[in-house]
Amino acid sequence: GIQVEQSPPDLILQEGANSTLRCNFSDSVNNLQWFHQNPWGQLINLFYIPSGTKQNGRLSATTVATERYSLLYISSSQTTDSGVYFCAVDRPYSGAGSYQLTFGKGTKLSVIP
């Protein structure tokens, strides 16, 4: 199946700092999503971004599908940004096993005041 690797696994930031999280995937994808899992376990949708660049407030994401990676940028980090960030992908339809999201292991972000 498709492999998804996220880096770094852990990240500690001072409040106000910027960061870049990376997601590499091993094959072409139909769908790529970034999620933030808050301390209560809820997965919050950040971006649906199989290709291109999107921005939402202090967050932005870029996916370069031809090179099989995506980046999530967090600017002016706040303590509420703490949690685990997951990248997840699904394959172009090819029969059984498609449409399921395959998740990376996540990046655990801690923002300290």
Partner: protein, 113 residues
């Protein structure tokens, strides 16, 4: 509008017992997915429904796990003869159609004692 809801939020059961976990998808979403998340890991796919039918159940770990979606809306994940290794957070997601952005519920934390 209302998001994906899951009940119960927590379930503690004894080894060998039967449990049912419920998922209410976003209204109008035809695709529904179940995932399982163990501590420190990303969610892992279990089963995917398109409408009433299970289009892909390749992630179910064994025949003790079964899921239904009889009217194409609410889904129930059923686990027979629970084992301690079944302890995890069970997540449900829905999307407008297959391959679209997936939205997750808050999960059911299952503990088998």
């Amino acid at each position: 509008g209302a998001g994906v809801s899951q009940t119960p939020s927590n379930k503690v059961t004894e080894k060998g017992k039967y449990v049912e976990l419920r998922c209410d998808p976003i209204s109008g979403h035809t695709a529904l997915y179940w995932y399982r998340q163990s501590l420190g890991q990303g969610p892992e796919f279990l089963i995917y429904f398109q409408g009433t039918g299970a289009a892909d159940d390749s992630g179910l770990p064994n025949d003790r796990f079964f899921a239904v979606r009889p009217e194409g809306s609410v889904s129930t994940l059923k686990i027979q003869r629970t084992e301690r290794g079944d302890s995890a957070v069970y997540l449900c997601a829905s999307s407008p159609g297959q391959g679209d952005e997936q939205y997750f519920g808050p999960g059911t934390r299952l503990t088998v004692t």
